[in-house]
């Protein structure tokens, strides 16, 4: 038993706070990731680029979920709903109104953000367990909402909507798949940069204070209602944008794309990647896109069994997820080098 665990029961499960690494070292990791991401444009092609684009898009979605659930403690099991809103909004904007994709994606992010604010209002009153329950029910209801006759004029009902294929950036020598991937990557870089900046400062500390002890946070003059609502809004913005990116990548949306299990998949990705970590979202996105690709050959049920087993294992053994594992490895390497 270490001293930390007798101070606060949460301490052993909390990931260590991101150390304030200053100067050039702090930029090394992001720069490396961006370079790797850019290189992937030319190393892969076709279907692999589609997978890569999906990984990056899901990483943004999981980042949104991490922000809300990991940093702010509002467990949402219904983030698939935001993906659906983002995806359908993009599809409708592009196919019905002819909005170009590079404008449609940020717009759908804004639309989803508004919905996020609306959802946040009742969510403020719900404690964690009941919020999880309510969002669980939301996730189950989403496909029905998309199929419903009232909106099927817009959403295409059961058949779904196709998106117009985007024009490739031939000036840069990229084909359609590469263009989609590069655009997704650019959006991701902006999104991650924004979130990292947000979380490193006052806002991040306020969010975490609200998660750990809302009453204490309130007494310290942190506007709990504002930050919780804002967290929901930003989270919805990120996830909605990811939904739009996903829709562009597959050029098709339908109610079945946003079935109940998608919300659960996002949560699994967030947990396995690293619940209270920005980079964890990348690991999570890779996990939820790549693992089923291989596991599906075993059986249709195998990916779910593996998701479940991994989630339980991570919570038992490695609560800070893959990102925590990497961080521990880096820390150990650093102390050994001294």
């Amino acid at each position: 038993m270490t001293i930390t665990s007798s101070i606060h029961p949460d301490a052993r499960v909390l990931a260590p706070a991101a150390p304030a690494r200053g100067g050039s070292a702090a930029l090394a990791l992001p720069a490396l990731l961006i370079l790797a991401g850019a290189a992937a444009t030319f190393l892969f092609s076709g279907y692999q680029l589609l997978l890569a684009a999906n990984i990056v898009a899901y990483a943004i979605a999981i980042l949104g979920l991490n922000l809300l659930a990991g940093y702010n403690g509002q467990i949402s099991l219904g983030h698939g709903a935001f993906l659906a809103i983002g995806g359908y909004a993009t599809a409708i904007l592009m196919s019905r109104f002819g909005v170009p994709y590079w404008l449609a994606v940020p717009l759908c992010g804004l639309v989803t953000m508004v919905v996020g604010f609306l959802v946040a209002i009742p969510a403020l009153r719900l404690e964690m367990l009941y919020l999880a329950l309510a969002t669980f029910a939301l996730a189950v209801a989403v496909p029905q909402l998309a199929k419903n006759k009232l909106v099927s004029g817009w959403t295409g009902g059961v058949d779904g909507l196709s998106l117009p294929r985007i024009r490739p950036w031939s000036a840069l020598g990229l084909d359609v798949d590469q263009t989609v991937y590069v655009y997704t990557l650019l959006v991701a870089i902006v999104a991650f940069a924004l979130v990292v900046n947000l979380l490193r400062g006052r806002v991040g500390r306020a969010l975490e204070a609200i998660r750990d002890h809302p009453v204490a946070a309130e007494t310290m003059a942190i506007d709990v209602r504002f930050f919780k609502t804002a967290a929901f809004g930003v989270s919805a913005f990120l996830t909605g944008t990811a939904g739009g990116l996903g829709a562009i990548a597959t050029a098709f949306v339908s109610p079945d794309s946003y079935a109940f299990f998608l919300s659960i998949t996002l949560m699994v990705g967030a947990v396995v990647g690293g619940f209270r970590s920005v980079y964890g979202a990348l690991f999570g996105g890779a996990f939820i896109v790549l693992m089923p690709n291989y596991a599906e050959r075993l059986s249709q049920g195998a990916p779910w069994a593996i998701y479940g087993a991994c989630t339980i294992l991570v919570m038992l053994v490695m609560p800070s997820g893959l990102a925590g594992l990497v961080r521990a490895a880096i820390d150990r390497w650093r102390t050994r080098a001294r």
Partner: protein, 290 residues
């Protein structure tokens, strides 16, 4: 009018199924303070077990009894091995673990049995005399079994020493330990009983919703709604809530929103209950000190 009575009776029967699953949810909430997100999948796995036994030649009611017993043991095992480890952990941890458990069970059953939808015969077909008025034999059978289940659970908690011990362990664990009650065992028993009740619920539902790994996904949402509506701290409330949701869902589906918006309707009910009166109709308001 006939149509309305038919909808009403079907609603009550479905409500019995939701009520029994809601009872399982309340059982776990009463003993461990958690809402078991995996309850539906556990019930589904029990139903597959029963189906396998019957497919291998065992007659229905012995298979039923054996499944209930095995589910009881499995429920105890899950609590002891998995849930117990998260005793002092932050609130989100055990929720995530239950979600993980839910998809693990779903995936395993899908892996072993495949995702084909199978039809299951009702055990009440041979007792056609059960059919009463607008209810078919199976529907009447569901009602009877649910009533029996509720009576058994009530009698257990009210009139047996073990039931008393479980209630004490849930109310004041520390004092119960001082009096010599094995609180850990009581928690495990709570999960075991809930798993057994869930198994009954699943086996009753299978002839209606057909057997496939996702059969309980919708049912669990209705059960949640019923438990929340009735009050998650009150077993009677859960039953009343389940019946109410069954009737409301059916009537709303027939006359208000159409069958394809039933889940949205139930979602609205859940959100309304949680925002307007979180303790439900018959529950107690839980106040925590800071």
């Amino acid at each position: 009018m006939n149509e309305f009575i038919h909808q009403l009776s079907t609603g009550l029967v479905l409500g019995c199924v939701y009520a029994s699953l809601a009872l399982a949810l309340v059982m776990i909430h009463q003993t461990t303070g958690l809402v078991n997100f995996a309850q539906g999948e556990m019930a589904m796995a029990s139903t597959y077990l029963a189906w396998t036994l019957v497919a291998h030649g065992m007659p229905y009611w012995p298979a039923f009894a054996l499944t209930v017993a095995l589910s009881f043991v499995a429920g105890m095992g899950i609590e002891r091995v998995l849930i117990r480890r998260f005793d002092g952990a932050p609130a989100h941890a055990v929720i995530i673990v239950m979600i993980g458990l839910m998809i693990l069970i779903d995936g395993l059953v899908g892996w072993i049995f495949g995702y084909d939808v199978r039809t299951v015969d009702s055990p009440f077909e041979k007792t056609a005399w059960l059919a009463a008025g607008p209810l078919s034999a199976h529907e009447a059978g569901i009602g009877l079994v649910t009533l029996l289940l509720m009576a058994l659970v009530f009698a257990f908690f009210r009139f047996t020493r073990l039931g008393l011990a479980m209630r004490a362990a849930a109310l004041t664990p520390l004092s119960s330990r001082l009096v010599g009650i094995n609180v850990g065992l009581m928690l495990a028993l709570g999960w075991g009983i809930a798993a057994a009740i869930g198994a009954v619920s699943g086996m009753l539902t299978a002839p209606i919703v057909y057997l496939d790994p996702n059969m309980m996904l919708n049912v669990i949402i209705y059960a949640f709604a019923g438990a929340l509506l009735g009050g998650i701290t009150n077993p009677w409330g859960a039953v009343v809530g389940g019946l109410a949701i069954g009737v409301a869902e059916n009537l709303a589906g027939a006359y208000l929103v159409g069958t394809d918006l039933k889940l949205v309707f139930v979602l609205a009910v859940i959100v309304a209950v949680l925002t307007i009166r979180p303790q439900g109709l018959f529950g107690r308001r839980l106040v925590t000190r800071v």
